[in-house]
């Protein structure tokens, strides 16, 4: 076996101790009629050939394009020290710290993660981690129902569509109710949550609302009036959940500053590679009064019998292994290694480095906006943004495909991601980070400008026609 230690003599010795002739005797308890058919799989692959196979598969992916794709997963610089720490087997080959005396490294790292994130989000209680931003948001919504004893949650349509889909899955058929609040359609608030509609729905005294979920920045990159929303929500006796992007919190007001009761979000941006969707880091934080409602592990500081400072998993009476069917959630395994990655990344960059990352992304995004505008590609919305925004592009899916051929990953095709928002049918969602170079921006602007000019010329001046050379 590839990693096993047993020689034939070892196996014989063990069988002899068991007074057995064959390992088959150990499986005599499986009823004959239920025994497995043989596994029809390929033969074992030596490591050298396996690496060649994996190299071949990885080479079929394209990661060399000038990318403007964000939409909930962001490329950021990760100093080499981060991954070198993560590659220490003492971290990644340990498990949940059930024996705290020989798990102080993991426990202290989780306590530090809780503390770092508490600083960033401005709320005092941070869970040890959840699966991802979507699952954390769903858990946040469920928390509002437990805490208020109400069963109705309002979610802005400017929250990431995957998060809303997960909320729908979690809420469907469990007796709780989930509604979407539409976007404001016009003016300087277009693309943000319609606060008048929010207020109207909060006013339904027959159906009191447990919680309201808004994202900052929202899915379209726009900044939401979180303070105003928070005031409306609290006036109705409901809890306010802010879905946040943690890097942005270096420069944006944190949830604690505008009165959010719970913060949820995707921690991938904190130094975790995109890796086609995970493993990621679900951030979940809340105010102190909600501590017994928060699901997932919590680590606290304590002392050992000699009075030395030490760390331990605590308040476990909320958890499934104690409470079983009455637990706050069924979560067990979480994302501890990713919480460590985020902590090490934050320590490597420091507060000034983090601010530089956020501000540099904003600066690059402004350059991108100007460069695209110079070739006639304008923003869809008028409101303020940090580093991501939607642009109007006629025939966006085809343009996006053609740009791939020209070495540009031109963000996200909104017609495909949010087919239920007809106002965004001809739009791309683009983002910039500190990884975006001036050359990337220039290439994007040049290529999309050329494509649209060709299309305009080919169709007698109509910018809405299919670009030349694009097969739909």
């Amino acid at each position: 076996m590839a990693y096993g230690p047993h020689t034939p003599a070892d196996r014989q010795r063990m069988l002899a101790a068991l007074r057995m002739d064959s390992v088959d005797d150990l499986f005599a308890d499986i009823p004959v009629g239920l025994r497995s058919s043989p596994l029809r799989l390929d033969p074992p692959e030596p490591e050298q050939l396996l690496m060649r196979r994996l190299d071949g598969l990885a080479a079929k992916n394209r990661v060399d394009l000038a990318s403007f794709l964000g939409a909930g997963a962001y490329r950021h610089f990760s100093p080499p020290l981060v991954d070198q720490i993560l590659l220490r087997g003492e971290w990644y080959t340990a498990y949940t710290p059930y024996q705290p005396e020989v798990s102080q490294g993991t426990l202290q790292s989780i306590y530090e993660y809780e503390s770092l994130l508490a600083e960033l989000v401005g709320l005092d209680v941070v869970s040890a981690s959840h699966y991802d931003g979507a699952a954390a948001t769903a858990e946040a919504a469920l928390m509002t129902c437990r805490a208020t004893g109400r069963g109705r949650v309002l979610v802005s349509r400017a929250v990431h569509p995957h998060y809303r889909e997960v909320l729908r899955t979690y809420f469907h058929g469990n007796g709780l109710h989930f509604e979407e609040i539409p976007l404001a359609a016009e003016g300087s608030v277009a693309g943000t949550t319609d606060l008048a509609e929010l207020e109207r729905r909060l006013g339904d005294a027959e159906n009191p609302v447990a919680g309201v979920v808004l994202a900052q920045p929202n899915f379209y990159g726009l900044l939401e009036p979180m303070r105003d929303a928070s005031d409306l929500v609290h006036a109705a006796g409901a809890l306010f959940v802010a879905v946040v992007e943690p890097v942005s919190l270096a420069v944006l007001a944190p949830p604690g500053a505008y009165g959010a009761d719970i913060a949820a979000g995707e921690g991938q941006a904190l130094g975790i590679p995109p890796q086609y969707g995970g493993p990621y880091l679900g951030i979940l934080a809340c105010t102190e009064p909600l501590v017994r409602q928060i699901p997932g592990r919590l680590v606290g500081m304590t002392t050992d019998v000699d009075g030395r400072r030490a760390y331990v998993m605590t308040l476990q009476a909320r958890e499934q292994h104690i409470r079983r069917e009455k637990a706050a959630s069924n979560i067990c395994t979480n994302q501890t290694l990713l919480a460590l990655a985020a902590s090490v990344w934050l320590a490597a960059l420091g507060p000034h480095g983090l601010r530089d990352v956020a501000a540099l992304g904003a600066a690059r995004a402004a350059e991108l906006e100007a460069a695209l505008a110079s070739v006639g590609v304008a923003r869809v919305h008028a409101g303020a943004y940090l580093n991501e925004f939607a642009v109007r592009v006629p025939n966006a899916p085809a343009v996006h495909r053609e740009l791939l051929e020209r070495g540009v990953l031109a963000g996200l095709v909104l017609a495909e991601a949010v087919p239920d928002e007809p106002a965004l049918a001809d739009a791309l969602l683009v983002c910039a980070t500190e990884m975006t170079t001036g050359d990337d921006v220039a290439t994007f602007a040049r290529e999309i400008g050329a494509l649209l000019a060709d299309a305009g010329a080919g169709a007698g001046g109509s910018a809405a026609a299919a670009p030349v050379g694009v097969t739909a």
Binding site: Y3, P44, V102, D132, H162, P254, V299, A327, T336
Partner: protein
């Protein structure tokens, strides 16, 4: 770790000195944030630590050395399958073609990963004997929820709206009943038979028109193959309910028992147990779910599809209306799945069968050694699968030393403790799972340590009751931690410096 243990570490906040640790990224232009309206700006910078690279690295290296891990020693934590985590898997997941691929990358530039995911699904279908697989769930409990939601939707699609009960044996993992609650269903706990196995009559009495599913861990959390499973599955299906298998113990049955062939309708697989993806100090895991034909229409979206021309694509938004929907963002924990794929390819059919044979052989050998010593109670004396129960009930009666004390004393011997006080149905339980990657010398040394501790419990119980003595810290004040929770470091006032620009 040395007998004196590594030095305790101050928090990273205490290491912070204003002005240290800059220079990793360029400074933005001074006006970068001018266009941000004042109402949205952060007023006070977060008081994050400022440390230089050597301080940061030493902090995390020193912390790491306070952990017991598979890479440092034996970790027989029952029900967790703490097997070797191959290093080539870490290499694989870090290949830029996999690691740097954006989760919303168009299918055309993600063909390598999509092919890997599709092939992984086929391998898991073969191993489970099921019909289809979703790779989306992020962990075992997440897979349980996915499976139970599919079961619920299946019944509703049949017009069967009253099936709200989930039957679970009392030895089950706590995630099973917690999952049923999250799905809006009701848990009915069924007591085990005297031999520790399924009480067929108990289940039959509880099965009926309101039963949605039965959740069975097989082998059970006692490490016993449920030999009455065939009759139970017949009874479940006769009652119109579906059978869920908790695959936590899949390491015991590879190539010996395919749950789908036997009649289970749905199961989850913990890649971080059976397929060696690292446990990460508590995650990440991945919890693929395999289903029979009945449940395939309800699988979460998006699925990975192979097209007629051999290329791959993801399902589009709303393409399959029968789906229970999404369980998480994006496709799944692909980085974990790359590791599982590498492991499965490395082993192939014969290697996987050998894993199970060796894991079960090691567990039975260790169990026999403890039984022969007479030092511990072995409540279920027959053949076990990949793990087994020992109990300190007799030792406790004689000496006052409890399982908890023995677990702590094992730490002084350089071993991680087994899972203790689980399952809840056995007094003073120790659930011991050696896995297939531990040598006979390690198994012998562990048995010797347990026997030595049992003797020590008689000769010098105080030493056992106050263990550990050589770990970085001694026993902790857990009650105090819960009474006055300190869940975050509070930087002293003034512990932040305004940004220079």
């Amino acid at each position: 770790m040395s007998a004196s243990g590594p030095r305790l570490q101050p928090t990273i906040f205490e290491l912070s000195r204003p002005g240290r640790g800059a220079g990793k990224v360029p400074h933005p232009p001074a006006d970068a944030l001018d266009r941000l309206p004042a109402q949205h700006r952060r007023e006070r910078p977060a008081a994050l630590p400022e440390v230089n690279e050597p301080e940061a690295v030493r902090h995390y290296v020193n912390l790491s050395q306070m952990n017991h891990a598979v890479d440092t020693g034996f970790y027989p934590l029952g029900s967790c399958t703490m097997k070797w985590n191959p290093k080539v898997n870490e290499w694989a997941a870090r290949q830029p073609g996999f690691a740097q691929l954006h989760p919303l990358a168009p299918d055309a530039i993600a063909q390598g990963t999509l092919q890997l995911l599709w092939e992984l699904e086929q391998i898991l279908i073969e191993i489970s004997g099921m019909h289809a697989v979703t790779l989306q769930p992020a962990a075992g409990a997440h897979g349980e929820l996915t499976g139970i939601l599919m079961v619920r939707e299946y019944h509703r699609a049949q017009g069967d709206m009253d099936r709200t009960d989930v039957l679970v044996p009392d030895s089950a993992h706590g995630t099973n009943p917690a999952t049923a609650t999250m799905a809006g269903l009701r848990t009915i706990s069924i007591k085990a038979a005297p031999d520790g196995g399924i009480d067929l009559d108990g289940f039959k009495a509880a099965l009926g028109p309101t039963t949605a599913a039965v959740m069975i861990t097989n082998p059970s959390t006692l490490g016993i193959f449920e030999s009455r499973i065939g009759d139970l599955l017949d009874a479940v299906h006769a009652a119109g309910a579906l059978a869920y298998m908790d695959g936590a113990n899949l390491n015991a049955i590879l190539g010996r028992f395919k749950p789908g062939e036997a009649g289970f309708d749905v199961m989850h697989i913990n890649t971080h147990k059976t397929f060696s993806t690292p446990h990460g100090g508590g995650g990440p895991g991945a919890g693929p779910v395999a289903v029979g034909e009945k449940l395939e229409p309800f699988l979460p979206a998006p699925r990975v599809l192979r097209q007629a021309d051999g290329s791959f694509r993801l399902e589009r938004v709303g393409e399959r209306p029968t789906s229970i929907g999404r369980m998480r963002s994006f496709v799944g924990s692909t980085g974990v799945l790359v590791r599982a794929y590498a492991y499965l390819r490395t082993h192939g059919a014969s290697g996987l069968a050998e894993i199970t044979d060796d894991a079960v052989l090691a567990a039975n050998y260790l169990k026999q050694r403890l039984a022969d010593s007479g030092a511990y109670d072995i409540p279920f004396p027959g053949v076990c699968k990949h793990e087994f129960i020992a109990s300190a009930t007799s030792i406790k009666k004689k000496t006052g030393v409890r399982t908890l004390d023995i677990a702590k004393r094992l730490l002084d011997h350089g071993f991680h403790a087994p899972t203790v006080y689980f399952p809840l149905t056995v007094d003073e339980a120790m659930l011991i799972e050696p896995t297939e990657t531990e040598s006979i010398e390690t198994l012998d040394a562990f048995a010797d340590a347990l026997v030595a501790i049992a003797r020590e419990a008689e000769a010098d119980p105080e030493t056992v009751k106050t263990a550990p003595h050589t770990a970085p810290v001694r026993r902790l004040d857990e009650a105090g931690a819960a009474r006055n929770p300190n869940l975050r470091w509070r930087p002293a006032a003034g512990d932040w410096t305004p940004c220079p620009d």
